[in-house]
Every structure is written in structure tokens, then in C-alpha cells.
């Protein structure tokens, strides 16, 4: 494996959907390199194709223009190096929390006792203690998200594709999860593609932040974070460098806000 090149490389990548004779161009001309161990945040207006990009990195479908390579090879089928936490949680309704989290471990063929221990520690990590036996239908939206996150962390993929993973969490839990995620990605040198609508969150976590234009999504700007790789998320609020980065993101997004609002109305 070539360590020198980027781990994920988008080359003029674009995707157009054809539905019922209608064509929707979701993203266009995406050029982006993601290095191993890098935390990249993707922000942009709703419908600009962020989820579409993650889908293509996961290999669920191919770009209709350009190419996407992972570790030097073009992604043409399901990309097993990536773990994908989708925007909708997609839990198995017939399995309880424990059952859902251990799906990937069962697939790997992990022995039962080891599996139980791993699942128990993950449940504690995402704060679902006491709900082990609950089915997804009995959980709140945030709890379902946390179950999906635990399931993703259970199988420890090389690259994490996270689509608004913390959107349904309260402030405290969210900070907690952010700290855990950042720590984990740093410790294990995992690459993360992180989609969020929360600009403060993007600024706090990212090494680089990619800002997209409205649909068809193109890259408007790539901002490199001035923050150090090991940062203290709790103290961050008072860090002027962080404040400046967040402000820059806000300034970039607000002009397009007028556009999307006009489109919606």
C-alpha cells in the first residue's frame, strides 16, 4: 500500500441521478485528497450532495463522472475499509440494542464471551446502559443514533464515514461523543469524513473543513484548521483560533443561506 499518496482521492468526481426521466445533478467536479489519519469535515447546504459523496466513498454506487480512489485503487464495489454511519440510523428492527451492536462482530466471527465484553464497553461508551434489551422502536432518536455509532465503532473500520452522527444528541452528550471520536481517531490514526450542519462542531473537530456550494454541490473552499491535532475540546470555546475558524465558516455559509431560503420559499 502506498503510504505516500492520499488515502481517498476525488478526481473531478460528479454524480447525476436519473429518476423517472428527471435528472438531478447532486455533485460536480469534486477534487479532494484526504490523507491517512486526517479528520475532514464536510459542510454545505442541505441537498448539496454530502451524503452522496459518502455513499460513493463507501462504494454503494460509482460517480457518473470522474473517479474516486481509495488507497490507490478505484472504488468500484462495496468498500470494506470504510465504516459508514448513515444519516438514517438503519438499525435492524428485530434486534435489541445489544443485538444490533454485535452484528459486525458476529460477521467477523468473534467468540461470544469476547463479543459480550466488547459490546458492554461500547454500550457504556455511548451511554446506553440500562437499554441493552430495548428494540429500536422503543428508543429515542438520539439513542438510536448512539446505537448506530456503537455498532460502527464495534467493528473498527480503517476509515469512518459519519453523516451527521451527533445531530440528535443533547449538548453534553454531544461534547462527550466528540471527545471520544476525536481521541479514537487520533489514537488509531483513523481517517474521518464527517458531515455536519453544525459549523461550530465542524470547526472544533476538523483538520480541514470542506465548504460546499448549493446543489449541484461543488467545493467552494477548503479551510485548513489552525488548531493543533491534540486539542482540548472543553477549553476550545475560549480559543481565539477556534473562534476565528468558526466565524470564517459562518461568513462563508451565510450568503448561501439567502439562496437556500429563497429556494425553499
Amino acid at each position: 500500500m502506498s503510504m505516500a499518496g492520499p488515502l481517498i482521492a476525488f478526481r473531478k468526481a460528479g454524480k447525476t441521478f436519473h429518476v423517472d426521466g428527471r435528472t438531478v445533478e447532486a455533485v460536480r467536479d469534486i477534487d479532494l485528497d484526504v490523507a491517512r489519519g486526517e479528520f475532514v469535515a464536510l459542510v454545505g447546504p442541505s441537498g448539496c450532495g454530502k451524503s452522496t459523496l459518502l455513499n460513493m466513498v463507501a462504494g454503494l454506487f460509482q460517480p457518473s463522472a470522474g473517479s474516486i480512489t481509495y488507497a490507490g485503487t478505484e472504488v468500484v464495489r462495496v468498500n470494506l475499509k470504510t465504516g459508514y454511519m448513515t444519516q438514517n440510523d438503519h438499525l435492524l428492527p428485530w434486534r435489541d440494542v445489544v443485538g444490533n451492536i454485535q452484528v459486525p462482530l458476529e460477521i467477523q466471527g468473534m467468540p461470544a464471551t469476547q463479543m459480550r465484553k466488547r459490546v458492554a464497553s461500547l454500550i457504556e461508551l455511548v451511554g446506553l446502559t440500562g437499554f441493552e434489551k430495548s428494540y429500536p422502536a422503543q428508543l429515542s432518536g438520539g439513542m438510536r443514533k448512539r446505537t448506530a455509532l456503537a455498532r460502527l465503532l464495534a467493528y473498527d473500520p480503517e476509515t469512518l464515514l459519519l453523516d451527521e452522527p451527533f445531530a440528535a444528541l443533547d449538548a453534553q452528550l454531544r461534547l462527550n461523543m466528540q471527545i471520544e471520536l476525536l481521541d479514537l481517531s487520533r489514537r488509531l490514526n483513523k481517517s474521518v469524513l464527517f458531515v455536519t450542519h453544525d459549523l461550530d462542531e465542524a470547526a472544533a473537530l476538523c483538520d480541514r473543513c470542506v465548504v460546499f456550494s448549493p446543489r449541484p454541490g461543488t467545493i467552494r473552499k477548503i479551510i485548513t484548521s489552525p488548531l493543533p491535532r491534540d486539542r482540548n475540546l472543553i477549553r476550545l470555546r475560549h480559543d481565539p483560533a477556534y473562534q476565528a475558524l468558526a466565524a470564517e465558516l459562518w461568513d462563508l455559509i451565510t450568503p448561501t443561506l439567502a439562496l437556500t431560503r429563497g429556494e425553499a420559499g
Binding site: N79, H90, Q138
Partner: protein, 262 residues
């Protein structure tokens, strides 16, 4: 969940209703309608009693139960397997589609004479007839269920490195099982249709035979008695399916206990 007191009251009311129906029947019989046509509960009770005393009621029940249950089990098992296979292998399903539809539109009971030619008039014929009827219902439901499996869930599984076998056991089967059980539940009365009709056509044993025999002797009470036993058999099979359903789909009962929130 319904409260215990509430369900007790409901059951009491049901009993009262049953008693009222039986009483009305008993009194109306011979007054409003000739007893020859509708018999009456006391006569039916006596007919049942004499069959019980004669000792061969259980023999007949056993025969019919054997036919219906074996046929049901065979037809359902094959139906599930074929449903899953065709549900997963699209090319095969497309290839066989017109043939399946052609067979499906055939009233399966009409196959009885053919089965008699092939395997005679013994128990095997009734089992085959029942299995054929049940097979189609379960097969079509299973097939629909397998085709309705969420593609997103499948993709998520493949992303986790799942093999086809994993997807089958962890997603396809649990997801289709709701449909399978819908098929099983509607199949219960049909299983009995298969067995009883088989017996009506050619037999000297079983509840169908009892029914035909009583009718041949213009013994209305006997006919009703046989019908009641058939009904109870169907009830039993239904209860078995229900019990399996609760055991195999614990998440469903969790869902039904859940308060509605949106």
C-alpha cells in the same frame, strides 16, 4: 397492554354472548326453523357425547389432524424455502413467473382427482392436497417478504463485510418472517380445507368422512357436531402458529406494547 380486570370483563361478556346464542338457538329450533335444518345445541351435545363414548371420535380427529398438520408443515416449509430462493435469485424468479402464476390461478382442490390417480385415496393424498394448497399461500407471502427487504439494510450489512449467508440470516429472513407468518395464518383454514375435502371425496375415516356420513344419514346434529370439532382443530392449529409467532418475533410484541408516539 390491556389491564387484567378489563380483559376479565371482556371474557365474561363473551361467555354471556355465547350462552345467549346457544339459548336462542335451542329455543328457536323447531319453533322458528325446523329442527331438521338447524338441529339444536342439546342434540349436538348428545351427538358429540355418543361419539366420545364410542371412542372413535379421537381416531377420526387424529386422522384429520395428522393430514392437516403434516400437510401444513410440509407445504409451509417448502413454501418458505422456494419463496426465499426465488426472492433472492431474480433471474430464476423472472424465468418461472408465468408458470407460477398459471399454477396459482388453478384452484388447488381441483387437483384432488389427479392426486388420487397418482397416490391413491390414502392419507398421502390428503397430505399432498393440503401441502399444495398451503405451499402457494406461504410461498407467495415469503416471496413478497423477501422482495421487500430494505436494500439499505442489505447495503449496510455488505459494508460490514457480510457474506450472502450473513445477509440472508441476519436481514432477509428476520425481515421476511412477518410476511411468512401472515402466509401461515391465512393458510390454517386452507390446510383444513385440503384435508376435509380430500376426505369428502374419498375416505372412510377422518372428520370429513364423519361429516359426509352424518349428512348421508340426514343426521343434522352429527353434521354440526363434526363442524364444531373441525372448528376446534382449526383453532388449535391457529394457536400453534400464534405461539410460534410470539416466540420467533419478540420484537413484534415489544412493538405492540409500545405506546404510540410519532
Amino acid at each position: 397492554m390491556r389491564k387484567a380486570g378489563q380483559s376479565l370483563r371482556l371474557n365474561l361478556m363473551r361467555c354471556a354472548l355465547l350462552v345467549a346464542i346457544l339459548l336462542t338457538w335451542e329455543m328457536a329450533s323447531g319453533v322458528v326453523v325446523a329442527e331438521f335444518f338447524v338441529s339444536k345445541p342439546s342434540a349436538i351435545g348428545r351427538a358429540l357425547g355418543s361419539w366420545l363414548a364410542g371412542g372413535n371420535l379421537f381416531f377420526h380427529i387424529g386422522i384429520t389432524a395428522l393430514e392437516a398438520f403434516t400437510g401444513f408443515f410440509l407445504g409451509a416449509s417448502i413454501g418458505v424455502v422456494v419463496g426465499v430462493v426465488l426472492g433472492r435469485i431474480h433471474i430464476l424468479a423472472d424465468l418461472l413467473h408465468p408458470f407460477i402464476i398459471a399454477f396459482y390461478s388453478l384452484p388447488k382442490i381441483a387437483l384432488a382427482p389427479l392426486f388420487i390417480l397418482w397416490i391413491g385415496i390414502g392419507i398421502g393424498m390428503k397430505i399432498t392436497l393440503t401441502a399444495t394448497v398451503v405451499f402457494f399461500l406461504v410461498f407467495l407471502n415469503t416471496y413478497t417478504g423477501v422482495r421487500n427487504v430494505s436494500r439499505e439494510l442489505e447495503s449496510i450489512m455488505y459494508l460490514m463485510g457480510a457474506s450472502e449467508r450473513h445477509v440472508l440470516t441476519k436481514v432477509v429472513l428476520p425481515s421476511a418472517i412477518t410476511w411468512v407468518f401472515a402466509g401461515l395464518r391465512i393458510s390454517v383454514p386452507y390446510a383444513l380445507i385440503g384435508a376435509i375435502v380430500g376426505e369428502l371425496i374419498a375416505s372412510n375415516r377422518g372428520l370429513g368422512f364423519l361429516l359426509a356420513n352424518a349428512s348421508g344419514q340426514f343426521d343434522t346434529a352429527g353434521v354440526f357436531a363434526a363442524l364444531i370439532v373441525i372448528m376446534m382443530l382449526s383453532f388449535l392449529l391457529n394457536a400453534l402458529v400464534r405461539a410460534a409467532e410470539i416466540r420467533l418475533m419478540p420484537w413484534k410484541s415489544a412493538e405492540s406494547q409500545r405506546e404510540v408516539t410519532i
